[in-house]
Symmetry: C3
Subunit: 316 residues, 3 copies
């Protein structure tokens, strides 16, 4: 594997998941694989889990890690080609990415969407240009439209908790929030589930339909209760509208998952990528209850990152 | 030892001090103790000495270190239980601490007081909840009411410079400052001295009495000259009022320690945790003179942290 | 070598360049040299290349690295001696540098000029005082008036691409910019070229004469075309006026290097330290063309830093 920016970069999904589960059992078996290799983690936005889990994963493989908060420790990057740089941007991405590629064997990049122009965000300029100009493998730490590291951890978690003798019914449910949130986690989760043997149902108020690029194969159900019936996994996530791009269309009263709603499921488990706004996006009772897999997901972020880095290192 | 957030977490104070002094002589004897173990340093406020000395200490023991400035690289954390998170806080401490505990074997936390509500600051919510939810040992890097790493380094320094054949007289003296400063360093120093065989005298203008929780066993003397008489150690520190919480009550003219005041002591040594406002909190002449132990303290911060980490690692 | 803050700190320039070129061929031959040694990188200003290349260089030598953004993670430092610190500064450099020297075996420092007072900037207070008070070797990561790491990388690049049987003609040319930029890179480049066997021509609009402290031995040519004639290397850099300190005197139309201007040279190569404002400071066509050595320079920053650290470590 070279780049890891979406499920399409993965040669064999099953192999990757099994590799991650194996690393979870024995994290330190490959401490020489990353010897003399450096991972550069470039953050353009805040991060807690990705920042810590990916560093730890790299160090488990014997890599060195360098972290840079480009928004605070660097300067504004230009992505448009051919423009005269006499404004706010200080360095062109061709040069910035090229320079970083001189010092890092693998570069991780977190770059949120602006949520202004759908065309611009979904062009994934920053990520695409890093892949083009850095000269080294790029690992997405969350981009405008996807979050594959999260999705791999989510798939691991589903694999570990799947019901016996039943094709899992996985429900991706929209949740309330006060701010416009990117669609990247929802997109990515739907996309990875679409590449796995599960029944995926996506439920949300009207107007929150995700791009079909990611939801092919899933059924859409506007009635949350109907969607939750017999579910094995309930994946909770807010996202702003893709259709009316970046907008918060409704307060979503009654959309927060509670014990009462979970009673509709097949002893379903609840998932969320975190951070989560308790009491608004997801209820305290569910988060603190026996059906929550949220900490399992957080734990699996480490081994997901480690499996990805192991694969990239093996092919360097 | 599991957590290290106050003197009460230390099974044997003398052992810890001796361990730190031994590490100072041979810092690299235990380079495999921390192998495959990770220290996560979480800062909610600025730091120079703690940031650098604690990283170095961990690396001396073979640990990996990950540093995160939660205030700048993360987001606002909710500590109240059960509230609907529809405001400024982005993640609940239950989830944030739980997630960090997935990637770190030990977590260091720096969390200053707000100096608004005494009740809130002295409840030490952030620290308490990290201990409750992280699932791993918590190392205080300075909390609202204590700074035990500093106090251990201070105790080492006193031990190294103690007068022969005399129970040391240690004077904790208030000093002038222009801003409201937390009581944590003063509290912690008084508390550690209370657990050591020294005579502790605390001197300050009226209105600056520290909480008796920390000063039990010490005598209070409002006349600084009287307090300084025959002192072996003069520990200088500003703090805002605990009684009239968070207030700066007086400019404290004549309270700054000078050579003239030091002449009252028993060839006393001067101590300060740094940072210090020269010429206001403590005089240039004393800081640059032969009686200053300030750099010794700074040096000992490294071995204090290393002794604490060594103890925690040994019990993991 | 102890400190590395200018060309004058280098015992033998040729040896250092050859060492750097050798490290480029075999970067991991000295992995035990830096064992148990710590490099502290202290940034008072943003940085991309220096931040990443210097960390990587240190790790190649087996050093541990600690990075601190003093402007964001620390506090305001006082440099004036004897002042009463009752204003915005929180710690005196005597104490800050002294403390850092307790935890780091080598300290790297980046401290930009304020571009207000020429006297103040050229006194290089911050750098000078770090050398005086840290107690350990200081490595300049770019100071108010110099950038020796960049210059060493530049010299390596020139050495690698020098024309056969010709004393290289090197042209340092001013370039347009919208903001006042320090003279440090230009000063340093001129100074290092002055210590090498090349013909150095400096070309710029009138009013942009650099301090003769750095340009001794070079010829000044106000006509850029005349300067470029037969050049082997064209080093492009903007700087604000030294004479009319910190001012941007002219928009510099027609000063940007293009293919047309490069046609005047002797198949000359183009150099820039980055970051560069494309289309303003230097043309896209030249930067993306076959004559650009900009990425070679970026790559050589790693081995330049490694050679310097190797030399300092060997003398510790």
């Amino acid at each position: 594997m070279k780049h890891f920016t979406s499920v399409h970069d993965v040669p064999n999904l099953e192999t990757l998941v099994q590799d991650a589960l194996a690393l979870k059992k024995a994290p330190y078996q490959h401490k020489t694989l990353g010897e003399n290799k450096t991972l550069g983690l470039i953050f353009m936005n805040p991060s807690l889990r990705t920042r810590l889990s990916t560093q730890k994963a790299a160090m488990n493989l014997g890599m060195q890690v360098m972290v840079m908060n480009l928004d605070k420790e660097g300067w504004a990057i230009e992505t448009k080609d051919g423009v005269i740089m006499n404004g706010t941007t200080v360095e062109h991405i061709k040069d910035a990415a090229g320079a970083m590629g001189q010092y890092c064997d693998i570069i991780g990049l977190r770059s949120f969407p602006k949520l202004q122009s759908r065309e611009e965000d979904y062009a994934e300029e920053m990520l695409t240009m890093f892949k083009q100009y850095a000269g080294v493998p790029i690992l997405s730490l969350e981009s405008a439209t996807r979050h594959p590291l999260q999705s791999l951890a989510d798939l691991m978690t589903i694999r570990e908790n799947a019901p016996q003798n039943k094709r899992p019914k996985v429900v991706l449910t929209w949740a309330p929030h006060i701010k416009p949130i990117p669609q990247c986690v929802a997109n990515s989760f739907a996309e990875w589930m679409g590449n796995t043997d599960v029944e995926l149902v996506i439920t949300h108020p009207e107007g929150y339909e995700l791009s079909e690029e990611f939801t092919a194969g899933a059924s859409i159900e506007y009635n949350q209760d109907k969607a939750l019936a017999d579910a094995d996994f309930v994946y909770v996530k807010n996202w702003s509208s893709y259709q009316d791009y970046g907008k918060v269309l409704s307060a979503g009263e009654n959309w927060m998952i509670t014990n009462e709603k979970m009673a509709l499921t097949n002893n379903g488990k609840v998932m969320h990528c975190l951070p989560v706004r308790r009491g608004l996006e997801l209820s305290y009772e569910v988060l603190d209850g026996p059906d929550s897999l949220v900490m399992n997901q957080a734990e699996n972020r480490l081994y997901a990152a480690q499996a990805v880095l192991k694969s990239i290192l093996s092919d360097l």
